[in-house]
Amino acid sequence: METGPKNAEKLPPLLLLHPDDNILVARRDIAAGERVEVDGESFSMPAAVELGHKLARRALAADTRVLKYGAPIGSMKVAVGRGEHVHLHNLRSDYLPSTSREITDTH
């Protein structure tokens, strides 16, 4: 059942994991400027996104609950436009803050 890269090229580069989701997941590395299709509309990627990373399915206001797998995974810290990378710089946990390699005063 190995699927070759040629076949993989034809697969849509963005995955919608659940119909309620407001983010999409990159199936492969996607370059800035690459044309992608979201909900039947074609647009140009505002920035590169790596495999496994998320981007906004539509414009999201600050404090919007972000849904992935149909479940909440945090809230937007700031507003983003469609196609923008959604990650540590604009999405926060509603439980515990995420960790970086920087050691802070409290640790």
Binding site: A8, G74, L96
Partner: protein, 405 residues
């Protein structure tokens, strides 16, 4: 899937006195304090045998959890014989451990370095003891073993944005089919299930168990809040995961869709087939540090619960195996697989390139049967035998945790 379960080949197991069967017949060399670690390692290395595994506990202070864990590990069905190595003055209750191993019917020997006359004499005595044990184990024959005698644990390590889409749900499918065939399957790390507690509770076989599951995730969230870190490593973020609850939702899919039959703690063996959640977060206020300092500590706890083998999903690319029980690597990320194929048993990342989730699930299921029949996993063949055991404390599980027991 019933057809697959019914036509599945019979596994091979080493029968033990307690009625369980092992899929390996390992000699465990166990140090009972860090001071006996080097001598134990020399015995393992110089024995030159792949089936002699090093385990141990580094601390000098006595601890109920570590004694119980060592008892469970040394009488694990995959273990055929045990050599204990003590320095002599440490706090570990070596006689109690030796008695419980002897009571299980296994050959056991205890060397005390201070009484044996130091490093070289203990090494020579240890090599002789291991030689005799291996000769004894070589006489033992396997008997047919069924899937309903098998316990499989799952853990994720080095998760990324692909884990929850490919490897974890594929393991979930495999778990559903194993449970249908009568196996016991264990998933764990309640600290990595924060955010999933309500969905998980709704799958419990009784409402009381559901409440216990919610309470144990609350305990984990509180514990990690006090520690100041969630179970979220920098590599998780580099791989596209942003929040703990996002990582949790991905990790949760390893559990598949079966009802949850029980909530167990390290060392509790599932009483029958079904899906079990392992609570790995210590009870009470944080006392000894992070619940599990790295992935292998979780693997050791899954093994202490009787897991014959471990399904380890990874996105970033972990290479670890384990002492005692084989580890099967299911790689979530197709790019990682391309880089590290020699370490990976299954390329679940191919789902992103068009393969079917069920096909990957079936591949994992078939590999479980083969590894449980003696075929080495990749990490096992590469000699990975990592092991960590540290201090913890637990209260026994409550009566609502195992409703069907």
């Amino acid at each position: 899937m019933n057809a697959l379960a019914k036509t599945s080949p019979t596994l091979k197991g080493f029968p033990r006195r307690d009625g369980r069967k092992g899929i390996r017949n390992v000699v465990a060399v166990a140090y009972l304090v860090e001071c006996a670690h080097h001598v134990s390692r020399l015995i393992v290395q110089k024995s030159g045998a792949d089936d002699v595994h090093l385990i141990g506990f580094p601390g000098c202070y006595p601890n109920k959890y570590s004694l119980e864990m060592m008892q469970r590990l040394c009488t694990h069905p995959n273990v055929g014989a045990v050599l204990l190595v003590s320095l002599g003055c440490e706090g570990f209750n070596r006689e109690q451990l030796r008695r419980s191993i002897a009571a299980s019917g296994r050959p056991v020997d205890l060397l005390v370095i201070q009484q044996s006359g130091g490093t070289t004499r203990t090494l020579n005595a240890g090599l002789e003891a291991v030689r005799k044990m291996r000769a004894e184990l070589a006489k033992q024959a396997t008997v047919p073993m069924a899937l309903d005698e098998l316990i499989v644990g799952t853990v994720c390590g080095g998760s990324d944005g692909t884990s929850g889409i490919t490897a974890n749900p594929a393991v979930g499918r495999c778990f559903d089919w194993l449970i249908e065939a009568g196996s016991a399957c264990i998933f764990e790390e309640t600290g990595e299930l924060i955010g999933c507690e309500r969905i998980m509770a709704s799958r419990a076989i009784t409402p009381e168990l559901g409440r216990e599951i919610e309470a144990c995730v609350d305990k984990a969230a509180n514990y990690y809040r006090i520690m100041g870190y969630g179970s979220f490593a920098p590599g998780n973020a580099e791989g596209g995961l942003t929040t703990l609850e996002e990582k949790s939702m991905g990790a949760y899919s390893k559990s598949g869709s079966s009802p949850i039959s029980g909530l167990i703690k390290p060392g509790d063996v599932p009483p029958r087939g079904g899906l079990y959640l392992l609570d790995v977060v210590p009870d009470g206020e944080p006392r000894f540090g992070f619940p599990n300092i790295s992935d292998n500590a979780e693997i050791v706890e899954l093994i202490a619960c009787g897991s014959h083998l471990i399904l380890f999903t990874t996105g970033r690319g972990s290479v670890v195996g384990s002492a005692i029980s084989p580890v099967i690597k299911v790689c979530a990320n197709p790019d990682t697989y391309d880089r590290m194929a020699d370490d990976m048993d299954v390329n679940a990342g191919r789902i992103l390139r068009g393969a079917e989730l069920d096909d990957v699930g079936r591949e994992i299921f078939s590999l479980v049967e083969r590894v449980a029949s003696g075929e080495p996993s990749k990490s096992e063949a590469l000699g990975h035998q990592e092991f960590i055991l540290t201090y913890k404390q637990f209260e026994p599980i409550g009566p609502a945790c195992l409703p069907a027991a």
